[in-house]
C-alpha cells in the first residue's frame, strides 16, 4: 500500500531555499517590543556617517544610491563588525518570502514560476489552485502583475512580492499566450508549503519489516503537526519502524525541531542552549526538555543525514543520537551550532541575530564540527540521474536488520 504525499514545487521553493535555508540557519521568530530601553547602547557616530555620505554625494562619479540603500549598507556594515556570518541584515522582500516559508503557508495564487533562458517568466499553475481555476495555463508568459511590467523578467523575489498578498485580496495578472495578451483577476487563497512527505516502504519478501519513511525538507511552523500526521498515517498502515530523512534539510524553526524530536523520545532534553546575559556578560544555560506524548517513542528508528543536514536538523539528529534512540546513517553533518533570533524592523526589513549556541543533550558542541554518522554512507556520482539512492538502501537494510534483531 502506498500513501504518498507529493510535494508541489511552489514558486520555486527550491531555488529560494538554497538561498536562505541552504545557509542553514535556525531561528525563532520573536519580536521584542521596541519600547524605551534605558540601557545605554553603543552607537556609531551618526554625524560622521552623515559627513562621509555628504562627501560621497558631493564628488562620487557613479550613481549615488538611495537613502534606503545607504541605510541598509550602514546596517550591514555595523553587523559585519560582529564577525558572525549568521548575524545578517535581510531586506524587506526576501524577509517577506522567508516569513512565508517559515510559516509554511502564504496568500497566493498557486503558480510555479520559472525563468527561461531568454529571461521570460513562465507560469505553471498548481492543480486546483486559484490560478488554474482562473484559467492560467502552463506555459503562459507573465507580462504584468497589478500593472507592474515583468515581461523583461525580474528576480523571483520581486515577482513573488507582487503576486503574494493577503488571503481574499485580488491580484491582476496579465499573461502572453501565443502572442495574445490575457488578463486575469485572481483572488488569493491560502497556499500551503508542505515541509514533510511520507510513505510506507515495504519489501515484497514476506515477514519483512514495514518501514515508515518520513522526509523533512525544513522546519516550518507546520512541520511538527505534519510529522505527527505522518506517524499516525504510517502507523495505521502497519509501519513497525521509521526512517527519518534529514538530508539537505538546512534547518528552520527551533520550536519545530523540538516538537519533531519529541515524537520519538520519552524523556530528557532535546538540546541545551547557552545564551549571554548582556548586562554582566555571563553565560546562561537553558535546557529544552522533551515534550511528552511522543507518537513513536519505541519503534526502531534511523536517521538519514548528509553534509547539508544543518541547524534545526542537527538538533533532531543529535538528540536522537545522544539518547541512543536512532542511528545516524550517511555523511558527517554541516555543523551549525548557533541559534538566531529574527527581528522585524520598522520598514519590513529584518535582522537575524545569533543569540545562543546550542549543545546536544550530552553537551556536545557541534559548531564547525558536525555530527558523525554511526554508519557512513555516500552516494556515488550520477546516482540521482539513474534513480538510485544507495544511502536510502543502506539505511533501510540497517533498519530491517535492527528491527529483526529486536523482534
Amino acid at each position: 500500500m502506498l500513501n504518498f504525499r507529493r510535494f508541489a514545487l511552489i514558486m520555486m521553493l527550491l531555488a529560494w531555499s538554497s538561498v536562505v535555508f541552504g545557509a542553514g540557519w535556525l531561528a525563532r521568530s520573536r519580536l521584542v517590543p521596541g519600547a524605551a530601553n534605558r540601557v545605554t547602547i553603543h552607537a556609531p557616530e551618526y554625524r560622521l556617517l552623515d559627513e562621509a555620505w555628504g562627501r560621497v554625494r558631493e564628488s562620487f562619479i557613479g550613481e549615488v544610491p538611495s537613502d534606503t540603500i545607504r541605510n541598509y549598507g550602514a546596517i550591514r556594515g555595523m553587523l559585519a563588525t560582529l564577525n558572525d556570518r549568521w548575524t545578517v541584515f535581510v531586506e524587506p522582500q526576501p524577509r517577506a518570502i522567508e516569513r512565508d516559508h517559515l510559516r509554511g503557508q502564504f496568500g497566493g495564487i498557486g503558480v510555479d514560476i520559472r525563468i527561461d533562458e531568454a529571461g521570460r517568466v513562465i507560469l505553471t499553475p498548481r492543480r486546483n489552485s486559484p490560478a488554474e481555476k482562473a484559467g492560467v495555463q502552463a506555459g503562459d508568459i507573465l507580462v504584468a502583475v497589478d500593472g507592474i511590467n515583468f515581461s523583461n523578467g525580474a528576480p523571483f523575489e520581486d515577482i513573488a512580492a507582487r503576486v503574494r498578498g493577503e488571503v481574499g485580496t485580488v491580484v491582476r495578472i496579465t499573461v502572453n499566450r501565443a502572442g495574445r495578451l490575457i488578463d486575469f483577476a485572481i483572488t488569493r487563497a491560502l497556499i500551503e508549503i508542505p515541509s514533510v512527505d511520507w510513505r510506507v516502504i515495504s519489501d515484497t519478501a514476506p515477514n519483512q519489516t514495514v518501514i515508515g519513511y518520513i522526509s523533512i525538507r525544513q522546519f516550518t511552523e507546520r512541520t511538527g503537526s505534519e510529522v505527527k500526521q505522518a506517524i499516525t498515517e504510517l502507523q495505521s498502515a502497519g509501519s513497525q519502524a521509521y526512517l527519518i530523512d534529514l538530508r539537505d534539510n538546512g534547518g528552520g524553526l527551533l520550536a519545530s525541531a523540538i516538537e519533531v524530536a519529541s515524537q520519538f523520545l520519552s524523556s530528557g532534553n532535546v538540546l541545551i542552549e547557552q545564551k549571554r546575559n548582556q548586562t554582566d556578560g555571563s553565560i546562561i544555560t537553558v535546557t529544552h526538555p522533551v515534550i511528552g506524548g511522543g507518537l513513536a517513542q519505541r519503534a526502531s528508528l534511523s536517521v538519514l543525514v548528509n553534509r547539508n543536514t544543518a541547524s534545526a536538523s542537527e538538533i533532531v539528529a543529535g538528540a536522537l543520537q545522544d539518547h541512543g534512540r536512532a542511528r545516524l546513517i550517511g555523511e558527517k553533518t554541516y555543523g551549525k551550532g548557533s541559534v538566531q533570533l529574527l527581528f522585524d524592523l520598522s520598514d519590513g526589513s529584518s535582522i537575524h541575530v545569533t543569540s545562543a549556541r546550542w549543545l546536544t543533550p550530552n553537551a556536545r558542541a557541534i559548531d564547525g564540527v558536525g555530527l558523525q554518522p554511526d554508519i557512513e554512507a555516500y552516494r556515488a556520482e550520477g546516482e540521482a540521474e539513474r534513480g538510485i539512492d544507495s544511502q536510502l538502501e543502506r539505511a533501510l537494510a540497517d533498519l530491517r536488520a535492527k528491527s529483526a534483531a529486536s523482534k
Binding site: 553603543h42 556609531p44 551618526y46 555620505w53 550602514a74 546596517i75 555595523m78 545564551k275
Partner: protein
Amino acid sequence: MQTQQQGSGSGILKMVLLGLLGVFTGGLIFVAGLGVGVATSGEFALTAPSAVEPLSAPNADAEQGRPSGVDTALMNDVLRRLRSQWYGEMPNSDKLTDGAIRGMVAALGDPFTAYVEPRYAKILEDDASGTFEGIGATLRQVTGGGVQIVRTFDGAPAQKGGVLPGDLIEAVDGTPVSGLSTYEVAALVRGPKGTTVTLTLRRADVPKPFDLSLVRDRINIPLVTSKMVGDGKIAYVSLFDFSAQASAQLTTQLRELLRNNPSGLILDLRDNPGGLLSQAVEVGDIFLKDGVFIIQRDNKGNEERKSTTNRGIAQDIPMVVLVNAASASAAEVLAGAIQDYNRATIIGEQTFGKGSVQLPQSLPNGGQLRITIQRWYTPKNRAIHQMGIKPDYIVPMSNEDALQGRDPQLDAAVEYLLSGKEPAPTPFPTVSPRR
C-alpha cells in the same frame, strides 16, 4: 566658502573642486585599482592625504534639496536588538562607526571607493619609508571581498619567501584582514627594512591557510629596461610604472637605442599598473604629435583635457605597444591614446580597465575616504573604466610560456615590425553548450 546659494554658490564649489583636482592631478594621482604597491616605488605609495585640503562637510546640493541623514531610528533599533540578544560581545562605538561607513561605501558598488580606518590612515600618513621598503608585491581588491597578491617582484622578499600571485591574504601578523580595503592591508604589510611581517595566505590548491614570514627589505626595481632585439634591428623599452622619473629615464634610454637606427620600436607596458597621470602625458609626448591625450570627467559634468605637444623624439618610427591584463590606469591611458591616433599597433591582451581617480579625504575621526571622483576617456572618447583597451592583435601568454622563458607576445611584436606579418588570430575558445 561652502555656504551654497543658488547660482553663484555652485560656482564657488566648482572652483574649490577644480583647485583640488589641480593639486591632485599635478602630482598625486596614483593607481589605486590594480596595485596599492606594498612597497614598490613612490607611486604606489598612498598619497599623503594631508596634501589635500579636506572638503568640509558638504551641505545639500542646492538643486536636490537637503539629503536626509542616516536613519538613526532604524539603526538604533538594530543596536537595541543586538544589545538584548547578541551572543557575542558588543563592539564599541568607534568600531560601529567604521563598520557603518564601510557598509555605506560598499553600497556604492565601486571597488575603488574605499574607507580607511583611522588607525590604518595614521600608519599610511606616518609612513615615509614604507614606499620603498616592504615585501615587493602589489595588491588588489577582489570583487566580492578580500585582498589578493597581484604581482611579486624579482628578488624581493615576497617572491623569495614563496608568495605567489593570486594568493589571498587572510591575516597580517595575526590581524584578520577580512573586510579591510587594499589600502588598509597595505598599511599593515609595509614597514621598515629588516623588520618581519607574517602573512597568512590562502592559495587555490592548498586546503588550509598557511603562514609565511618575510623580512622586509628595500625594494629596488629598475624603472626602465631597454635592449635591442630582432637581430639588433628593433629597439625595445619596458616601463615598470609611471612614477616621477618615468619619462626622463625613458627618454634617456630611448636616445641611446635610437643611435642604433632601429627599424622599429617596442614599448612594453605589460604588468604596468600605472602611476602619475602627468607622467603618462609626458611619456605620450615622446611618441605622439600634438593633440588631446586624455579626457577627464567628474560627476558635475566638468571636463578636463590634457594634450601632448609636437616635440617627441620618437614620433614616426614604426612601433608596437605590448599590453596585458595587468596593464592598468595610466598605462591604459597611454595605450588608448596611441591606439586612437594609430601611432602604434597594440599587441597582447585586453587591459585591466581601471580608468578612474580616487581622491583621498580625511574625516574628522582621522579616517580616510577615497572616493572615485573622475573617469578617464581616450581622445576618441572611449571609456577606459571597466572597458580596458582591446589590442589590435590579441596574443595570449600562458603561465607555461612564462615558466619556460618563452615570450610569444614579444616574438609577435618583433616579427610584426620586421616582416609586417600579422599575429595569427586567436582560436575561438572551445565551449560546450549550456544544457
